[in-house]
Assembly symmetry: C2
Homo-oligomer: 316 residues x 2
């Protein structure tokens, strides 16, 4: 018991014994067993983070925000990946909860009903991130993707574009991209416009994908004067197509993406985009977990909404 107290620096231990304990620990190469520790204390120093993908450029930055805030708190983030699959998501959530984490951060508001149920029963803070368009379970931090799409549509219309196309993921897998598209269409129809073309793709977003789909779309619809992409990675591909084909941006064609990814910096053109505040969302989510009162019987619910800020760049 004294050793336990000494190593955790809790309770009263004389500095002499503390020193002795520390030296013995060092000498023996003692590594505490957190399984036992957490089990005994009925607390946890894990924070579960459930995201759809790690390779998509967008979630690593959320993770960085989370890690930055958790650093020094003694809490450790554990990541689970769902591949945009609600079945898999539920399995990952179960896995996470079986470690009795201090809290859970999970991307999106759409979950299997059974997953939602175990989340509600879990008695730990649940933070749904990225999106605020829906019914949060408890805490929620994100932007409105509907608004993001709508505002970009308004912006493009205001810039004078009339033959506007969309390139994005096959929607059922990515709810937020769907919401952006819906908002975008709504924004267009405010001005009496509609999408004049669209290309959907399955599989991951990539520059190559964006370039190929842009090529195809322009071939089929040469009159298009502006393309809105569901992701910056795709719009970069569009820009690459234009560079390779000598299409002048934005004179012949305007381009706009979403996310404000770091890869936009340093390109020959500053691509228009919407900042999704990914890092800040991660930070805030971590804060909510840290601040969550232990007395969990209260109905603490809270939604933090960030503003989807348009960066016009020089491609619109």
């Amino acid at each position: 018991m004294t050793a336990s107290r000494a190593l955790r620096a809790v309770g009263d231990v004389s500095s002499a014994t503390r020193k002795k304990v520390e030296q013995a620990a060092l000498k023996l190469g003692y590594v505490p067993n957190r399984l036992a520790g957490n089990l005994a204390s009925r607390t946890s120093d894990l924070v579960g983070v459930v995201v759809p993908s790690l390779s998509s450029f967008v979630f690593p930055e959320v993770l960085n925000g989370i890690s930055a805030r958790l650093e020094g708190s003694g809490l450790q983030p554990v990541t689970g990946v769902t591949d945009y699959d609600l079945q898999k998501e539920e399995a990952v959530i179960r896995q996470m909860l079986s470690w009795r984490p201090r809290g859970l951060i999970i991307a999106g508001l759409e979950h299997a009903e059974s997953a939602r149920k175990i989340l509600r029963n879990s008695n730990i803070p649940i933070v749904e991130i990225m999106d605020v368009d829906g019914q949060p379970i408890q805490y929620c931090v994100g932007i409105s993707h509907g608004r993001a799409g709508r505002e970009m549509a308004r912006k493009l219309v205001a810039c004078g574009y009339r033959k506007i196309a969309f390139i994005g993921t096959k929607m059922p897998k990515d709810f937020r991209a769907q919401k952006r598209l819906d908002g975008f269409k709504a924004g267009l129809s405010e001005a009496g416009l509609a999408l004049c073309a669209q290309q959907l793709y399955t599989g991951g977003s990539s520059i190559e994908n964006g370039r190929n789909l842009t090529a195809r779309l322009l071939k089929e619809h040469p009159a298009v004067d502006c393309i809105y992409y569901s992701s910056d990675v795709m719009s970069v591909g569009g820009l690459m197509h234009c560079l390779a084909e000598g299409i002048s941006v934005p004179d012949d064609l305007a381009l706009a993406g979403f996310n404000n990814l770091e890869i936009l910096n340093g390109l020959p053109r500053n691509l228009a985009t919407t900042d999704a505040h990914r890092y800040a969302i991660g930070e805030k989510a971590a804060d909510l977990i840290l601040e969550h009162p232990d007395a969990s019987d209260d109905e603490s619910k809270r939604t933090v909404t960030f503003s989807p800020d348009i960066e016009t760049g020089d491609t619109i």
Copy 2:
């Protein structure tokens, strides 16, 4: 006990009771407590993964390889990030070991001596990945970065370039980049050549960074006919500079990077690079953990070396 057996599907349980148990579990919203389970069984279903960074485009793919192989085995990867800091690395390793993982995968061969000691004492399979130039603790999976640099140098020399420059990270932080540079210089000197210029940077690799450094380097050394970058992200920046300035690639300037990142696909030019086999390395590392014999008293040591394959693209 019967319930435990039923839910884990081990031992003999009649299908009738199994069904009853499962229904009860569902009804009660039972989520097993893995802390207790792992503690009691003295085994673990965690695999620790220690990487320098998640935002650098390169490690997520390693993680994907690991996850793919671990999928279905019941093991879960847990990621820790070191920011290329050996102190932090040691802390992360300690954290990891305190969860008593089944095995540990860790990037690089360079560690604090005390970290190396606790790794050796840990009695679980330790897989050092990415690099094979050094003394592995136990298992090792990677490529020789020295060879990668040397072979690229030979290639560039063979292509006729004589005024070759290098752009890369400030080395003390990134041992593998350092080894590539050393190998590269060695390769050049085989042909009686030396670097005619170099630019080092701190902070993360980024397209923007690559573009700026390329601009500066060309300004200071206009005669340079070829640049080798420590990372593809940087060489993309170089290409962007050339596109923006109308520098013809590879006629006026040859470019080569390292890693064979996905962002190379779809650019106006196919950038030359070296494939670092990141996904395969992740897979193999996971395999080694899965195959590791439980009888841990044997001296199972093994190094798996991949070949750093040059992709010439059309920029050299």
